[in-house]
């Protein structure tokens, strides 16, 4: 057999080098530049409000209007803006309220949903399928639907303007039950059977065997829940009308209205203060954030 490469060995290296750069290589480079240009433009638009918020919060009020696009920052004025934001309204109270509310909601959600999810995934009991059907139904119901009766009930009990009022509608998370049930279902039955034979109680099986294996789901859900309730405006707007119990979004609205929106430096500083905790959490736990989103895809 004739070996073709022997005769053309001399130019095969040239060909190879060509193949690496042209024609496919050139097109690829062009495509890459195009893709990055498009992505960078979109990224700039998406980041614009964040950048603007930070820029303005570091400027003197007069400068904001005289030279809004200048990149010269007055750090002293910046510190003044942030201190001003803290002093003008009880910003620290808002932050504490927000923290108390999101953590309180999360605790109750985890306790109630993990139990229900385990029962739905691994225990046979009468009415199980009805309960599950109700969970799926509840999954579709936004808080605005039961809001009226919940408000009337809380009002009748004199519970408006309390932490309890802020948290109560969220104590049940159908999403958490659904998500954890999916996760628990994949936990091997053999291990549970073995544990029962070893004398574990059901409670111990959940806390010592099933829960540790569900850590990623719990982490993802926790972040999901914290984000949702830190950012929620609708429910606090309804049940809170005293400054003492305002959550950060409500506080932000109150601040803007109280300051009449004239001091933009302070307003932007306040926005930055309220947004920062979640942004930091996101930067430190990107993986869980993104997992949380993809898990909603399993719904």
């Amino acid at each position: 057999m004739a070996t073709p490469f022997r005769s053309s060995n001399a130019d095969s290296d040239v060909l190879l080098n060509k193949a690496k750069t042209t024609p496919a290589g050139g097109a690829r480079l062009f495509k890459r530049i195009g893709a990055h240009t498009a992505l960078l433009i979109m990224a700039a638009i998406v980041l614009l409000p964040f950048i603007w918020m930070l820029m303005t919060s570091l400027k003197d009020p007069t400068e904001i209007f005289d030279t809004p696009f200048s990149l010269r920052f007055d750090w002293e004025k910046g510190v003044e803006n942030y201190i001003g934001a803290f002093n003008a309204v009880p910003m620290i109270t808002f932050m504490i309220n927000g923290t108390v509310v999101v953590l309180g909601i999360l605790m109750v959600q985890l306790v109630t949903s993990i139990g229900a999810a385990y029962a739905l995934a691994k225990i046979e009991f009468r009415g199980k399928s009805i309960l599950f059907a109700f969970v799926v139904f509840a999954l579709c119901i936004p808080v605005q639907v039961p809001a009226l009766p919940l408000y009337l009930g809380l009002a009748n009990l004199g519970l408006l303007n309390t932490y309890f009022a802020l948290m109560f509608p969220w104590f049940l998370s159908a999403f958490a039950i659904f998500l954890f049930r999916q996760f628990f279902k994949s936990f091997p039955d053999e291990i549970i059977s073995a544990a029962r034979l070893d004398g574990f109680t059901e409670f111990e099986i959940v806390t010592r065997l099933v829960l540790p294996s569900a850590k990623p789901a719990i982490a993802a859900f926790s972040i999901f829940s914290i984000t949702a309730h830190w950012n929620d405006l609708y429910w606090p707007l309804i049940v809170i009308n005293t400054v003492d119990y305002m959550t950060p979004p409500l506080g932000m609205m109150y601040f803007r209205d109280a300051e009449a929106g004239t001091n933009y430096g302070m307003l932007m500083a306040a926005a930055a203060i309220i947004t920062t905790p979640l942004l930091l959490m996101f930067l430190f736990a990107q993986r869980q954030f993104i997992q949380g989103i993809t898990m909603t895809g399993f719904k």
Binding site: M1, A2, T3, P4, F5, S8, N9, S12, D13, L15, L16, K18, A19, K20, A24
Partner: protein, 396 residues
């Protein structure tokens, strides 16, 4: 006849800094069925993907049909590939799957343009012709009744045939197959093995077949290239690879149960001894002192222990376990010597059982010197020859 030779010249490929292929040369003849076999991670799949153009080599060249294809994209190389996962388009019917390569080949960009394409002149006519060819291929593979189904509704074997159909319909210069049978169950695998071999005969096209299964390699191909650590360590017929391994890794990879590797010693005259017993075997021109002796399970003879046999060159061992495979037995023997503990497998037909069978019983093992391979400590084959009649013959 169409030239469908495939030649690889000095192919080198690294992933990051890890070399995957080190300087691979390979010439495949027109119409040959060549198997690339080796353990996972030896680079055989990468080599196949380089031939297909799915991966670019760092240096070296690929020639298909005598012309260099390094600058060509996969679709321009005129090769078809069958994947381990079959890689069927899940959203298309079987017919659409098989149609795809012809559609892309024969229709202009306008004619195949989504939705609007059907009104471009000529497209209907081409569609009709393609449909005919697809049906012919489907009949060949006995999947004509499945044409309107989707891959999700097919069994593994049926998907396999669709993947073959998609490859065949283009009449490529060569078929590249990447472990095409490894997702099938054992029975179907044996059946498809025969069918693939017959398909090759009928089409007469070059087949390059990648597998980690030595049985597939031995039974299907005309030549086998055994790959280890990114190199072809031996290229030859199944017979050569089995009966004349050039490297200890080849000897160990091919054959089941695997070849026995035992410690040997060579004296200054070149004579070989095993466990201190001198063999009738001489090494040619080598100054190795310690060597490795490879002997296949069927090239050992086993008999009930008798003191007299030791003097005639037999080795003593203890039977650990006897496996009855119906048409043959495999005995696992424990051997102890000064260097430590060894386990040996012996394969023999039922008629040679002769009262062997009590686990723990002592047995005699005889070596057929004519069938042993001697390797250096680094694993290279050493040449040598058996002298006079073997101990086996003497014993019987």
């Amino acid at each position: 006849m169409i030239d469908s030779t495939i030649s690889l010249s000095k192919i080198v490929k690294k992933f990051d800094a890890t070399p995957v292929l080190r300087n691979v040369d390979l010439n495949i003849e027109s119409g040959e069925f060549l198997t690339l076999v080796g353990p996972s991670g030896c680079g055989k799949s990468t080599l196949l993907r380089i031939i297909a153009g799915l991966e670019m080599q760092d240096t070296g060249s690929v020639f298909i049909g005598g012309r260099s294809v390094d600058h060509l994209r996969p679709k321009q190389r005129d090769v078809a590939m069958v994947f381990q996962s079959y890689a069927l388009y899940p959203h298309m019917t079987v017919a659409e799957n098989i149609t795809m390569p012809l559609l892309m080949q024969r229709m202009s960009f306008a004619q195949r343009f989504p939705v609007m394409g059907r009104w471009v002149p000529g497209s209907q006519h081409i569609q009709k012709n393609i449909r005919k060819e697809v049906e012919t291929v489907a009949e060949h593979l006995h999947i004509e009744k499945l044409l309107e189904r989707k891959p999700g509704q097919l069994s593994g074997g049926q998907r396999q045939r669709v993947a073959l159909g998609r490859a065949m319909v283009r009449r490529p210069l060569a078929f590249l197959m990447d472990e095409p049978l490894s997702n099938l169950d054992a029975r179907l695998r044996v059946k498809m093995r025969t069918e693939l071999a017959e398909l090759h005969q009928r089409l007469g096209t070059t087949f390059i077949y990648v597998t980690h299964d030595q049985v597939e390699a031995m039974t299907m191909s005309k030549r086998i290239a055994v790959m280890m650590d990114g190199e072809i360590v031996q290229l030859g017929t199944p017979d050569e690879v089995y009966n004349d391994p050039q490297d200890i890794r080849v000897a160990q990879f091919i054959g089941s149960p695997p070849i026995n590797i035992l410690p040997g010693e060579v004296n200054s005259a070149g004579n070989l001894s095993l466990f201190g017993v001198e063999c009738r075997y001489r090494i040619n021109g080598s100054n190795q002192k310690n060597v490795k002796i490879g002997v296949r399970p069927e090239d050992l003879q086993i008999s009930e222990f008798k003191v007299g046999l030791i003097e005639r060159g037999g080795l003593r061992g203890w039977l650990r376990r006897l496996e009855n495979l119906g048409n043959e037995y495999i005995a696992h023997i424990d051997m102890d010597c000064d260097d430590g503990h060894w386990q040996i497998a012996v394969r023999f037909p039922p008629e040679e059982l002769n009262g062997i069978g009590q686990p723990g019983a002592a047995v005699n093992i005889f070596l057929n010197e004519a069938k042993i391979f001697v390797f250096s400590e680094t694993g290279d084959r050493l040449s040598g020859e058996a002298m006079l009649q073997s101990a086996v013959e003497k014993a019987s």
